[in-house]
């Protein structure tokens, strides 16, 4: 048996959307009060849109600039290393020129050369 309380009540007299013209007035009222907020959202969206529009080209240009800068820095540091290698590590740590020359060279110093070096000192 189906109880009558299983049947829905007709509450359509309370339905605010049932009276079309009045409901349109309610909607207009809400949209009217929201107008300033919506205008602000549109303006903000335009700014974000502009930034988004310029974002990719600016990012590409920045990436290109970084690439050029990196390349030129790499070139420069390479030339510095080459220059440093001509003076040598021995000189850099304070070993006398004669020793440094012998170290770099393939010839072994003779006894006379060694004597004259230490005698000179």
């Amino acid at each position: 048996m189906t109880d009558q309380h299983d049947q829905p009540l007709d509450l359509s007299a309370l339905d605010p959307t049932a009276e079309g013209a009045r409901f349109d007035g309610i909607v207009r009222s809400i949209l009217g009060d929201a107008a300033a907020q919506m205008e602000g959202r549109r303006a903000r969206n335009n700014v974000i849109g502009e930034i988004t529009r310029w974002y990719k080209p600016i990012l590409a240009a920045a990436a290109a600039a970084v690439a050029v800068l990196t390349f030129s820095l790499a070139q420069r540091s390479t030339s510095v290393i080459v220059e440093q290698s001509t003076s040598g590590v021995a000189e850099a740590i304070g070993i006398p020129d004669h020793f440094a020359t012998w170290i770099r060279g393939e010839s072994t110093p003779s006894a006379v050369e060694l004597y004259s070096l230490f005698a000179g000192q």
């Binding site: 309380h5 049947q7 829905p8 007709d10 409901f23």
Partner: protein, 191 residues
């Protein structure tokens, strides 16, 4: 009646468009969810006029916080929570928004004044009977019988089981019919 805006779009699409300032999208959300908002508000504040004020306030509040709606596809439950909060505030403090008053919206006025009078009388009787229900019974009844929500949706919204929702609805209908009287109740029964 004006053509409904954005009726072919999902809630998620309308929310995203409204965030960008699309007024037609906002109108779509208002038209789609107004009745649910009204049912929720009416269940808490007890009168149609107050419920309309709460709804207007809630829509503006929701718009302010639209960017915090994490799941635009679940706009309705998110929005109805705002309605409930605003209705509680309204009821507790009888404090209304400062924008345009809905008193400015013209009262119902169709081509048939007799129909308008009968409808106003029915509304008045229903509101009086609704006030005799508990908050929960009113919310379940209005969400189910006015808005057409399913028990599962109501249960999720109100934080109860679907069985509780069914029981509250049963009791609410019974109480309403007793209050309205058998003669009047027959008017409210669907065929």
């Amino acid at each position: 009646m004006e053509e409904a805006a954005g009726t072919d779009k999902s809630d998620a699409e309308l929310v995203l468009a409204a965030r960008r300032g699309d007024t037609a999208a906002l109108e779509g959300l208002v038209r789609r969810h107004y009745r649910a908002a009204f049912a929720t508000a009416l269940s808490l504040v007890g009168s149609s006029m107050d419920a309309e004020d709460v709804c207007q306030d809630a829509f503006l509040r929701a718009l302010e916080r639209l960017d915090t709606c994490r799941s635009p596809a679940k706009f309705r439950p998110w929005f109805l929570k705002i309605v409930r909060n605003r209705a509680h505030n309204y009821r507790d403090y009888q404090r209304v928004r400062t924008g345009q008053s809905l008193d400015d919206v013209s009262p119902a006025c169709s081509a048939d004044p007799v129909h308008d009078a009968v409808r106003a009388d029915l509304r008045s009787q229903l509101e009086r009977a609704l006030r005799l229900l508990t908050d929960v019974q009113r919310q379940v009844l209005l969400l189910h019988d006015l808005e057409g929500q399913k028990h599962q949706e109501i249960a999720d919204l109100l934080g109860m089981s679907t069985e509780s929702s069914r029981q509250h609805l049963f009791v609410a209908r019974k109480r309403m019919r007793q209050e309205l009287g058998q003669d009047t109740a027959s008017v409210y029964l669907h065929d």
